[in-house]
Each structure stands twice: as C-alpha cells, then as structure tokens.
Subunit: 222 residues, 2 copies
DNA sequence: ACCTGAACACCGTTCAAGT
DNA sequence: ACCTGAACACCGTTCAAGT
C-alpha cells in the first residue's frame, strides 16, 4: 500500500487525484446507482478527469472492485463481542459476515472468489477457525469447515440477491413460475405438493437455521 | 414453447434460422471459448446472420443464457439409480447436481438465481425433498433444507470457479497471498498457523464432506 | 510522475425499412 | 413473419504525446 500523505520529493508532475479519491468516488456511484453503473468512463467524469488518469491509480477495473470491497469491509465489519462458547462464537462470526454482505447486494456479483477477503474480514475467519479447533477439530479440518461455511454463506448471498434482482427486472411470470405451473404431480409429487408455496417458502430468510444445521454437522462427534 | 417443426401456414416470410439453431450455435461458442466470448454479434456472424435476427428468436441475451443452461441441464443430467436409504439418496442427488455444474464452469456466472433450474434438474430436487420428508421433516422444512443444500452447492461452484479463473488470469501473487504474507501471529494465531497451507487446503475438493455434514445437521433429531 | 486526446476494438439493443 | 442496415449509446484499455 502506498503512503499518499507522505512528503514527496516531487520529481515530476504533482498528482491531481489520489487512489483514495478514486475509491471514494467509486463507492459513491455504487451506493447511489448500483455496481452496473460503475464504469471507468463514468467514474472519470464524476471525478472530473479522464478515463486514462484512473489507470494511474488502479491497475484495472477488476482491481478497483477488489479495493472497493476491501474499503467496504473495513467500514462495515466492526468487531462485536462474541460468545465464549465455541459453537455460538462460530455462529455469531459467520452471521456477522453474512449480515455485512447481505446489506450490500452489489458485493455478491463482485466477490465470490476466495482470495479477496479483506484484512478486516480475517478477524472473523479467525474466530470461526478458533471455534472449530476449540471444538476438537484439527487445524486442517477447521480450514475445511470454515470453507464449507463460506461456501454456504456466499451461495446464500449470491442466490438470494440474483433472485431478487431478476424479480425486480421483469415483471412478467418468472421462468420458475412457468415451469411450476405444469408440474406432473405423479412424476414429481413432493414438488407439486409445495409448488404454490415455493415462492414464499424460499423467500424466507433461513440462513441462521441452515448455518446452525451445518455447524452441528461439522461438530458432530467432536 | 413454440413448435418449430409443426407445419406452417406460411403467412409470411419463411424463417432462415431457428431458436434451436441459435441455442446450438451459442453452445458451440461457449464450449469452445467460454461464456465471455458469447456475444450477440459474434453469435450472429457464426450463424451467418445479423445481430437483429437473433432477437426474433430470443427475447434478449439474458433469455439466451437461460435457454442455454436449460439445454445443458437437459443433456448433462441423466437420471442415475439412487440409493433407497433417504440420507444417501439426498447425498447422491445433490452430488449429481454438483458434478454436472462443476463440469461446466461458465454455468456459475450465469446461473446463481433460484428460478432457473431446468425441468430436468427438478427430478433431483424432488429426490432431495423426498429424502428429507422420508427422514421426518415437514414439507416446509424439507424445502428449507433443500434450499440450504442448494446455497451450499451453488456457493461451492461459484467460489471455486471464480477462484480458478482469477488464478489463471494474473500470474502474479494473489491478493490473498499478499495479505497472508504479513499476518500478525499474535492477533490472528489460527490463521497464521495455517497460512502457508491455506492454498492447498482450500483447493482440496471437500464438497462431499461438507455436504454430508450439512445433511447430518439437517436430519439431526429426526 | 502524472495526465490528456484520440483511437482501437468492441458491446446490447432499437428503429424503420425491406422482402 | 422474418430479416437487414444503420444507428444509438455505450464499454475497457492502449498508445503516443503533452506538462
């Protein structure tokens, strides 16, 4: 990370914009209008510069999005008091990550990779690992357990926000509705049985229930 | 769904291309060069037509991708013999869906919504629901259980394929590597302990272990 | 060292017209 | 009914030049 406020020996033209300003402006656009509207050109005009000037402060758009996510995590994830009991600490840490991500729908499209967790998020990862190890798992199995929780958490966010976006986009009957309308109750009886309740049932927020089930399963026999 | 092979009364110009041809050509492009290279213009030239002709057969690019996924599911998901024992049937059905999706990395970017499961995939959903109900869950809880499994499965695919793509893209040190390089062992001891093994550990395919833990948790006390 | 202008090589989609 | 040409309103990124 560069030191933007460090005294410069000015061996060249003084900078007009900073990496911080680029990120802050990008955040404003994303918060106000969504991640789709964040383009390098738009960002440049917003900042009162040209698209090319941006490339002097971030490598490309991908890096900009990573920096943006980091910036978001740093301000959204404040460290709460976590329960002392390991299982409950895991639940609370995972739920905190989930809550922060869920409050920020654009994040789902950006960050599904495993190597973009910001430094501020790592403290939560640490708590989860610690809870798993304290519950009797080896460090290796604890990493696998954490990953399982992360897959579940990321999947929940991505699936739910994509579904919500799609619902908002077209107001006609969804693809699912058309498929569910002509289900054969003989061939798929269980689905037919719940077909008309599918939308409300799947819209329910059952993240915590699923998380507890998952953690119960991970800790079973330990 | 239209009947493309039905006899026509030809009250107009005869079609030169069909929806099936559009989808088949799109599939060829995606299989050969990845989903990023599938553009309406590219597809039009490949098919020997113009971009606008495509819009007569699919509503827009989004619908094309949905149709493409459906087409893929229809040919990738053949129904295997599933175990009679409910828990093992759930595992096998979820694993079959996971295997089909994992073999098709482009799918992750396209299909993370909940209402795009094709008709052919529904049979697997049915098996999971049935296994959960047979294990003692109410139909409502079975739907929630299925969703939890789907979140986990979709998350695993999305996270792993995005990570793989990112690894392939830039050959420099990843963001995670830079962050992990200067972890404070006093503040984040568990992470520091596994920091150098993180990459291989998280690269391991532990989908089935996680799935079994999740299902154990869902079925606990039933 | 930092910024600019102009260009490259594209996108998805709409509109009005043709056959 | 189906297809075409031309256009609209954009993209991310590179290159060579300016200060």
């Amino acid at each position: 990370m560069p030191q933007p406020s460090a005294p410069r020996k000015t061996p060249g033209r003084p900078p007009r914009i900073s990496r911080e300003e680029v990120i802050a402006t990008a955040r404003r656009i994303v918060d106000a209008e969504g991640v789709d509207r964040l383009t390098m050109r738009r960002l440049a005009t917003e900042i009162g510069s040209t698209p090319m000037a941006l490339y002097h402060h971030v490598r490309n758009k991908e890096e900009l999005l990573v920096l943006l996510l980091d910036d978001y995590a740093a301000r959204a994830l404040h460290r709460p008091e976590l329960p002392a009991q390991p299982r409950e600490r895991i639940v609370a840490a995972a739920a905190a990550i989930h809550e922060a991500l869920a409050a920020c729908p654009w994040i789902a499209e950006v960050l599904t990779a495993d190597d973009l967790m910001s430094t501020s998020a790592l403290w939560f990862v640490e708590q989860i690992l610690d809870g798993l190890v304290e519950s009797g798992l080896t460090p290796e199995r604890a990493v696998h357990g954490y990953r399982t929780i992360w897959y579940y958490t990321a999947g929940e966010i991505v699936v739910r926000t994509t579904a919500a976006r799609r619902r908002a986009d077209d107001d006609g009957p969804t693809y699912r509705e058309r498929v569910f309308a002509d289900l054969d109750p003989n061939e798929l009886p269980r689905l037919a049985q719940v077909a008309d309740r599918w939308a409300p049932l799947t819209a329910e927020n059952t993240y915590l229930d699923g998380l507890r089930a998952l953690i119960d399963g991970l800790l079973a026999a330990h």
